[in-house]
Assembly symmetry: D2
Homo-oligomer: 303 residues x 4
């Protein structure tokens, strides 16, 4: 498979699509990004790298980080995670409180905000220096020591993240947050503010495609654990558009409102895209289209 020319094709073809969607406006600090940035980076299981467009520019990974926090929590707690959060698609928007009320504070899955807050709470409980330790984990799996939080973005979310504050207090009212709400929110806003390039993001997700082993050889999770998290990304990684993404792209992945997507074909490759214009479900319009082109052109999807 000549990924070089395929990425070229995908990139050129995607750029001819009608320009749809807008940059996320809920977080002021994020709204200033150039909406027309577009990058793709693909890393094969053999470690070969293929990048195109703005694939070496940093962006805010936002909710893509949820796959990484759940992986880190999984290293500590394994299946115990599921005592406090489910593995089912929610069928609802990412920031919905409705289901939480009916289901007594147990979020449907760790990729909606409520679930990610519970995972954040688990990490806050487990880690000595939660933010530092998590950052260390990210640098380790990505093999990149320059990855960092964007403190302005974290601060911006803190000042405007009333919906997440509502979710956290709601979870706390059900007893499903053990630490201070403020501490958990602070951790969560920091994890979301992580900045990476497409290449760094692809490298961070490498272990999901490589039976639990990073690009640099560390075994983060077992083969079986990684399969389970991949399955979870497949059914829940794109909020109430997970079915659509699975239907069209056929790869496990995770999106963020910074416009990033990480996806992977187990034992084959990991790919990251970045385009800040979001569709109405909060997923990167162009990123999804590019990935659909990729699996159509290569015939490489898990189904």
């Amino acid at each position: 498979m000549n990924f070089n020319s395929i990425l070229q094709e995908v990139f050129q073809e995607a750029k001819t699509f009608p320009v749809i969607g807008n940059v996320a406006s809920t977080i002021p600090e994020l709204s200033t990004v150039n909406p027309d940035k577009f990058g793709i980076h693909l890393t094969t299981i053999d470690g070969e790298d293929f990048g195109i467009g703005d694939s070496n520019e940093k962006f805010s990974i936002q909710s893509v980080s949820k796959a990484l926090t759940v992986a880190m929590a999984f290293t500590f707690l394994d299946e115990k995670i599921w005592e406090r959060v489910g593995v089912e698609p929610s069928g609802n928007p990412f920031n919905s409180l409705v289901q939480l009320e009916y289901e007594k504070g147990i979020p449907r899955n760790p990729f909606i905000n409520a679930g990610a807050l519970v995972i954040a709470d688990m990490l806050v409980s487990k880690l000595s220096n939660p933010k530092e330790d998590f950052l260390g984990f990210i640098r380790m799996i990505s093999g990149c020591n320059t990855i960092d939080f964007n403190l302005k973005v974290a601060q911006s979310e803190k000042e405007t993240g009333f919906r997440n504050a509502a979710l956290a207090h709601f979870l706390k009212s059900f007893g499903n947050i053990n630490n201070d709400v403020e501490t958990v929110l602070d951790f969560y806003f920091h994890q979301c503010s992580l900045e990476m390039t497409c290449q760094e993001l692809a490298h961070s997700f490498f272990f999901f495609a490589n039976e639990g082993k990073t690009r640099y050889g560390q075994q983060i999770l077992t083969k079986s654990q990684v399969k389970r998290l991949n399955a979870l990304m497949q059914t829940c990684g794109f909020y109430d558009e997970s079915g659509e993404f699975t239907y069209k792209v056929g790869l496990p992945g995770k999106s963020g409102i910074g416009g990033g997507i990480a996806a992977l074909y187990p034992k084959n490759f990991v790919v990251a895209t970045w385009s800040p214009r979001l569709n109405e479900k909060g997923n990167s319009e162009l990123g999804m289209s590019a990935l659909e082109l990729l699996t159509t052109k290569t015939g490489m999807s898990i189904f």
Copy 2:
């Protein structure tokens, strides 16, 4: 009508009913009250007072205060209130977030917690010293200068009121709270911590029965305004048991999880009951039964 003997009858008969329900457990400071307290106080439109049982003992009026804050807000804003809160029964529990999500942050009515928080926000905006000014208003309408907040109860709610904090942040995320969430919650927890006896509560509600005029002659609201707030208490005063209360008792009223209820027959009387055991909807079981007996025995209901 010999209210003295009727209250005797009601009181004795109600005490023979099976003991049902428990004291509210969500606010630690409230959970220590003697569950078997029971008092009734009725004040006629002519100013005659009839009390029985523990009618002169102070209790936490909690959500009964919502009728008083909305009345105070009505003095400032009149029908403008309804730009930010509705007049419809919610058909949902008092602390539900579900409808708020579907209806973009406009609470169904001012008697569910979400609505009362919006009213609290209005008062915080309007009053120079919100808590002091509101307390002054209460003392004025009740003619009782010893009425006060219970700071321990307010503090206890602050420490455990995660659900209300969730509601307030959720409202803020929809732009329906203008002040700091903490300031609004602080006001709200104080208003709920008001302590009154049945007699003081009946006197505070006197103006609702008296075409807007307090027992001491001040015109708080116009005749028409009071009719509208009475109508609102009728359809919404008892959360998702408002229909049941209207069906059985047939008087406008407002309940609180401290076990208090204030109800009134326009141009005839106002009555307050206190019994801390709550049914599953969060309303005083014995208080509702006593009021049903009262309207059955007297034939005095608005229908």
Copy 3:
């Protein structure tokens, strides 16, 4: 009170209001009515009649009939009715299936379609010749032998009433319809097709205002039973606009998508309006406005 001149005033003033809303379009046979028809009829407790506008023209009373079927069922079953239907406002549209699913087939109240279908099922079980017997009951309470079903309208509903068929099958699936679904729907579509003038409608509702006794002296229900049904109309008579109607008009009443409304002031009067243009909640826009004017001008509301 000079009702003659008051009705004149109300009628003239209401006619100056902006023309809002459209004729119900869901039932083809109903959609042909002249949208600008407008009539009011008021009957005092002493039996005096006051009519204005198109008050002597027949119209389809539709859901106004629900108050009459529940009254008839109440004569047979009294409080047993509430084993199969509730007394709470639904907070949802009249034809919603949502709550029914969450609440296992027990409709919130007898005035939403689901509840009225359960009441229809009760009558079908109790009456030898359900449609004829119900019509006899209506003729008796109204004192008018020419009142009849409109078979074309009933047929039209049958052909297009898929939503009601859905509700009836749904109720049946929960075991809350005992008879054949078709039989119950047939009865229901006939009851809704009843045609009356404003005057006939006011006379039919007379007993609700007169402590259970018709204009012609028959005691249909006890004083206490009638109070309870009035209470129910107050909280539930206008679907998810019941709070608004109570707030603005302050009288128990029942509306229909034919544009009719019947309302009453216990021990004082009963009033019927007809104007086919409906607001978005399915209630007569002009009828509601006229009744608001009436209670504002007379100061006669129950609150």
Copy 4:
């Protein structure tokens, strides 16, 4: 891979699990089946067959048929299907009406009952003799001419399927059923009454694993179409337990309340299980456990 010994192991181990769940009780004719039946049949992509237990006994495939009707509709309409039904997990029970009300009659996916009824309506519109033609299609893809409807089961569902009748009328009220409700229900109850053995079921699903080609060489769908339907089974095939199944088993599949499950590993194998005891979500408890064992032991899952 020695599937013979693996199936032996899976079968023996699964039989030691605690006996959980009951036979479906909603359809009388189905409730008489022996709850302890248990069979597995696996067919490799090379056409090798491996069966164990009651794998050659006929059972009612029920909702497993939904994957086959959607495949047949896909042959006619391809992506046009999605104008009337979605591709998202519902997050709700299989027979829920709630989402349908909020989403104006467009079912979330073709595997919940509402969606399957819409697919049935499409087939009724497209086929000259809907039931016969569909049966012909099934016999063709399975290579088995003895497969047939069970008319008693179809009749039993017709007599008791009030919930499905409610769904069909509800869809009709939104204009998302074009044919007579009765005709569509009749087709649907017949498709669900199909009886197959595990082997026949595995053979029927063979083309999903074989890039669209049946075991006998007919190309039913293109490679790309089959990928998409497999993706859909992955996210939606097990109702509100789809996430769980994906998480634990990691294969696309479809379950039925007759206790059957068909699942597949693209380009590798197709497997069918039968055990009539259902868990609370309506999926075969033992079947799911057996499939989890199978993918754990073989390491063969798509993730």
